[in-house]
Symmetry: C2
Subunit: 191 residues, 2 copies
């Protein structure tokens, strides 16, 4: 038997939780949305404590993502990767900030409740974003939960900067940590 | 508008190209299959020049993958990640070598026509494989095509070894390079 189809979904509650008509001005509002998604994902038991969102040049949502690893038995279904895939599907661009003729469009921003793991770090290199906004640090994730963030290049921020991706950290870090802490204290799954 | 569904597929030709009933004994046969898939993917114009396959403890195919980035407008749809997602879906395990009770099963092996890029490297950390068999090197990919492999940890092989993943390189390297060279000379797309 050979499988040839992959089908990944966001939980149905996202349709009630996300307003694609409003603008999320500023970095804090964008990361606050990602943290809100991480909290709702835990409350709805629809995946791990991580949320992310891609924003377009008008500060509106292009796509959102939450961790869906265990519901889909899929180690690729992290919050950031779900958001990237859905944003690319919506724009029909394999690099969000590059059109079919190779011209730059955007800028596009990913806001994530916690620092991308090694997999989402690599995905970020190819996704076509211009800015990466992060709530909790990797050390927060590893201290407050059983999750492992995996190996990164020593100068991971610089490697992104060299590819035109600006990284901003510690945005609403305490709020992000609160969700992780609550999840960790409940003994949530570790992937 | 909020999208919430991702649907990724392998091209229909894989059903004729892959025999899931036979055993692929030895590392060379496994990587030869991955290289064959990379070649067919170029010939059928169904994606970039990369192929991969996950093998179970009986040396039989669990799943295969080819690059589907441009057909699906999805930067996540690399050969290795497609193979991981399909193998996990077939086994219904988010880590291939770990059952629902956390006990080790397997071993599982990924064979890939070329060294995983930064994204597939990170995905490999979480996918639950025990062995990683590689055809062409990253420097081959970058010399022979326009593809960029992205930033990796300095000791990327050692980081995998510390997580129980054995890496074997340069398997059928010349055959793998031949596919990359032909693709590069045709001026194929770079992601």
């Amino acid at each position: 038997m050979l499988l040839a189809q992959i089908h990944l979904t966001l939980p149905a509650w996202v349709f009630d939780a996300v307003d694609t008509t409003r603008a999320y001005a500023g970095d804090g509002e964008k990361v606050a949305l990602a943290i809100g998604l991480s909290r709702l994902n835990v409350e709805h038991a629809s995946g791990g404590p991580f949320g992310a969102a891609v924003f377009g040049p008008d500060d509106r949502i292009v796509a959102v993502g939450v961790n869906r690893v265990l519901p889909h038995a899929c180690s690729l279904a992290h919050a950031e990767t779900m958001a990237y895939m859905l944003a690319q599907q919506r724009t029909q661009r394999a690099r969000l900030n590059e059109d079919a003729a190779g011209a730059r469009v955007g800028p596009y921003t990913l806001a994530t409740s916690a620092q991308p793991c090694c997999q989402c770090y690599g995905a970020t290199v190819w996704a076509g974003i211009d800015r990466l906004l992060i709530g909790a640090r990797a050390e927060d994730v590893e201290a407050l939960t059983e999750f492992d963030e995996g190996p990164l290049p020593a100068d991971w921020v610089g490697e992104l900067a060299r590819r035109g991706i600006e990284v901003v950290r510690d945005i609403r870090r305490d709020d992000a940590c609160e969700v992780l802490r609550a999840y960790g204290q409940r003994g949530g799954a570790r992937y």
